[in-house]
Amino acid sequence: MRKKGSYSAIFPIILFLASCQTNPYREGERLYKNTCANCHMDQGEGLRGLIPPLRNADYLHLHREKLPCVLKYGLTDTISVNGQTYTEQMPGVPTLTEIQITNILNYINNSWGNQNAPYSLEDTRRMLEKCAR
């Protein structure tokens, strides 16, 4: 009887750990859904020739240093993602904090099959200096 009791105490803990394990980017995911998914879509697939994809996008690792600035201040250049040209404008989200930017970047760089290097808060801070306003 006692044995059963101790099991049932451990069980929720295991469940809790398991749920952390399956989703280490929960905060980034929440922010992504709220601020980016309207355009880049839930699976990071983008929208035809209008909005570039984030899933399997070469842009993410080719321009790793630039990404914090893109999120905060947007992007108006003509860019190339996986060989396709995009010319629409992305509005930035200047209210995003360094921690939020780090969380979003870690989420998109490790979702939908993406496996790019993680960002530390230090990385984000340093990269943002290039576009400090």
Binding site: M41, L47, L50, E88, Q89, P91
Partner: protein, 207 residues
């Protein structure tokens, strides 16, 4: 033995007959009046004339023998438009080869969304003008007709991008009646809406 089988068959036939789902019909939406003669007069989409991405005039006559799906958008929309477009593309793809269905998207940014800009937009979306008209036109005419489609379109400097609008999609039948609508940002609601399109097609194009 034979009798039993016959009775069973009869029962099955009866069951099939009575259990058949009743054919669903779509209501005619909007205010209705009663004419002096006593007939019910339903809300109808009024006359309109806009211009599409190929500089073609688009009027009620364009859809005289089609049911069509309406929405309102603008190109530099920072919020819901891409989602609505994505769901619009689902409808576009499903009825691509079905001439009974067309789509009509009105730009509410009449200053920036010129015919040339709409053309570029259509090219990037990879859509065919004959099936999906992106139109611009007189500012007041566009904002006015939004009401007739039960949609919201207002200029609002405080809204993201400068315009406020609903992401609604509206289904109009061959007789200018509004028959269904959905939240164009909600994939599930759009699936339901696409079933409504099929129901309307059955009604308006009896075999």
């Amino acid at each position: 033995m034979k009798r039993i089988i016959l009775i069973l068959l009869a029962l099955i036939a009866l069951a099939v007959f009575f259990l058949q789902p009743e054919k669903r019909t779509l209501p005619i939406l909007g205010n209705r009046d009663v004419s002096p003669a006593g007939d019910t007069v339903y809300h109808q989409v009024p006359d309109f004339a806009f211009i599409d991405q190929d500089s073609q005039m688009v009027t009620n006559a364009t859809f005289a023998s089609q049911v069509y799906v309406v929405d309102f958008f603008f190109i530099h929309c920072p919020t819901i438009c891409p989602r609505v477009k994505k769901n619009g593309l689902r409808i576009y793809e499903k009825y691509k080869d079905d001439d009974r269905v067309a789509l009509l998207s009105h730009s509410i940014d009449t200053r920036n969304d010129t015919v040339a800009a709409l053309k570029r937009h259509a090219l990037k979306l990879g859509i065919d003008t004959k099936k999906w008209h992106l139109v611009t036109g007189d500012h007041d005419a566009i904002y006015g007709i939004a009401d007739d489609y039960f949609s919201v379109a207002t200029e609002d400097p405080d809204a993201p991008g400068g315009f406020d609008h609903s992401g609604r999609m509206i289904l109009v039948d061959k007789n200018r009646h509004v028959r269904s609508f959905c939240d164009g940002t909600d994939a599930e609601d759009v699936s339901r809406f696409m079933e409504d399109i099929d129901v309307l097609l059955e009604e308006q194009y009896p075999k």
